[in-house]
Symmetry: C2
Subunit: 345 residues, 2 copies
């Protein structure tokens, strides 16, 4: 008989909207899929959220108390040195102890990373984990994997190469894609483009037979079908991701305002609304993708937007469950061992 | 009696679509505004374009022959060492000699920059010029100035500070805005965010009383009313700008496809089309802003997208004319002298 699957550990405290949206997301997820959850944070607060949402006695949900909260303004070190009983750390400890399968947190990314580095450690040959975000593509059901989208501000060339290898493993499991086309993000497609670091990474990547390295792609290629995996440092990745989010808002808001001025446009948009709404919620709303995995740790960790709503948390839990079931970490570990990074870079 | 205004010099050869679209743009511009133009490039080709468009005898348009063409793949050095009779260089020489007021080129940005550095030279205290692009804002008529959006791949902190000062001068004249809110682009608003270079630039900028420095803004703030001037290096600026362009296409294309599947949405979008079309052509189409100035040279140079159509060239000429009439370069020079950058950084 196979062992019962482990619950997911969900950090309820670090998000912008407090524990209530997290609890909502957990309830939706355990009702929707075959999955149990441990909600980590201030027990009394979580209990009262569960009660108010009529799930006080749901047998699929447990609470693990954690007294302190890492805020968005806390430095990453706080989670390991100061607030040692924080919800992020307690949740990660559950995963490390084998009491939970994975961690989901809408909290401080730096703190999740710091806790992950100390408690979970990195996969063979990996110096630092990276956040892998899925970007929708025009007319394609399979998105682009963009990494690092925010975990590491300054990156060396060898880190970019590691991100490429992790992104390629991830794309095989997550999209899935057979032989993921892997590219570096640069300011032009010619080999002379890019910073010194980008060009050094390109040189290493072009020599790795295991990697389907296709060269540089530009900013406008990210939402196109130019590559399956796009690699950049976390400073650039964060800026790109947020600029893309801001642009979606720009287009939709400007459209709304321009339509307001014409009656026929108003009626027209009213008629088109259901189709557009589906599009927005399925494709362009970050919440539809749930969280983004922090790749490179020995355990599964999913980082959600600080502003996540219940739907985003629910989808993040589904994503975590999917990757646990698919044994993503084990597959990445095997691939990284076969790449034998230490000898190569 | 005041001197007759000088013509603009337009490089006809370097764009992706050849001289015809450039000639079209020049004809539209000189017909639309009080302005003359010298088209620079292969005389016979330009002549035949002018003839085919019925403007062979337009007294407001002259041709200056230049035998070679700098392609997009040529290294920037080629314009000064190899192809010394290229259209970019010949056009810049006209400006330097006082025969033209400004240069407009849809060609190789690095080559325009190289020619500018050698032939025009930089303004007091400025090490390298930067490209300043206007980004539309939600619900606001005045856009955000983003610089450097592509001229300098690796930047030191003092260059970012120079970009901030130039951007601030430019925003006063171009938007116009009284006391432009000037920000650094970073991966979070807290002072601890950013790379070492970003933090060093922030320190210098916060000490300059002449600059209305407001701190960091994030990627999603660019199309919002968070700042008038947003400063970054040219690698990041290029990626951001292109990712934003790609995202506009993503939203519009995905919308089109999603509407195709529903009859009422199809009818609705048909009714809304005129309003959306106006929006697109006025706000979200890069061609509506024409080109972007290369700020920091002693002469006015406007860089257009390589894929510029006639409308983009026309708008770039109008932009050049506007800045020449407003004496932008002279005003920037005076401001930079008063900042006395050499003593400060």
């Amino acid at each position: 008989m196979s062992k019962a699957p482990l619950p997911v550990a969900v950090d309820a405290m670090g998000g912008d909207h407090g524990p209530k949206v997290v609890v909502e997301g957990v309830i939706s997820a355990v009702n929707d899929i075959d999955c149990e959850a441990i909600i980590v944070g201030k027990e009394s607060e979580i209990k009262s959220c569960l009660d108010s949402l009529g799930a006080g006695n749901n047998p699929k949900i447990k609470i693990k108390n954690a007294n302190s909260v890492v805020t968005m303004d806390d430095s990453p070190a706080v989670v390991m040195r100061g607030k040692t009983d924080s919800s992020i750390r307690v949740a990660f400890q559950l995963v490390k102890n084998g009491e939970a399968s994975s961690l989901i947190s809408p909290g401080n990314t730096g703190a999740v990373m710091a806790a992950g580095l100390v408690l979970s450690g990195t996969l063979p040959g990996i110096a630092r984990p990276a956040i892998a975000t899925l970007i929708p593509k025009v007319g394609k059901s399979k998105p682009t994997v963009l990494l690092d989208s925010g975990a590491n501000v300054d990156c060396h060339a060898h880190q970019l190469v590691q991100f490429a290898l992790m992104g390629s493993c991830y794309a095989r499991v997550a999209l899935p894609v057979e032989n993921p086309r892997t590219a570096l993000l640069s300011n032009g497609s010619e080999p002379s483009k890019g910073t010194d670091i980008i060009r050094a990474a390109a040189q290493s990547m072009s020599e790795m037979e295991e990697l389907n390295y296709i060269g540089y792609v530009e900013g406008r290629d990210i939402p196109k079908d130019s590559a399956d995996v796009v690699v950049c440092d976390g400073f650039v990745g964060n800026l790109i991701l947020k600029a893309m989010e801001g642009t979606v808002e720009l287009v939709l808001d400007t459209m709304k305002m321009s339509v307001e001025r014409s009656l026929s446009a108003k009626i027209g948009m009213f008629m088109a609304k259901p189709a557009l709404k589906t599009l927005f919620s399925q494709k362009l709303d970050p919440a539809s993708y749930g969280g983004a995995p922090l790749l490179g740790l020995n355990h599964m960790a999913i980082i959600c937007h600080g502003s996540s709503n219940g739907r985003a948390i629910m989808n993040a839990i589904k994503v975590a469950k999917k990757f646990v079931d698919a044994e993503l970490i084990k597959k990445m570990e095997q691939a990284l061992i076969s790449f034998d990074l230490k000898k190569r870079i």
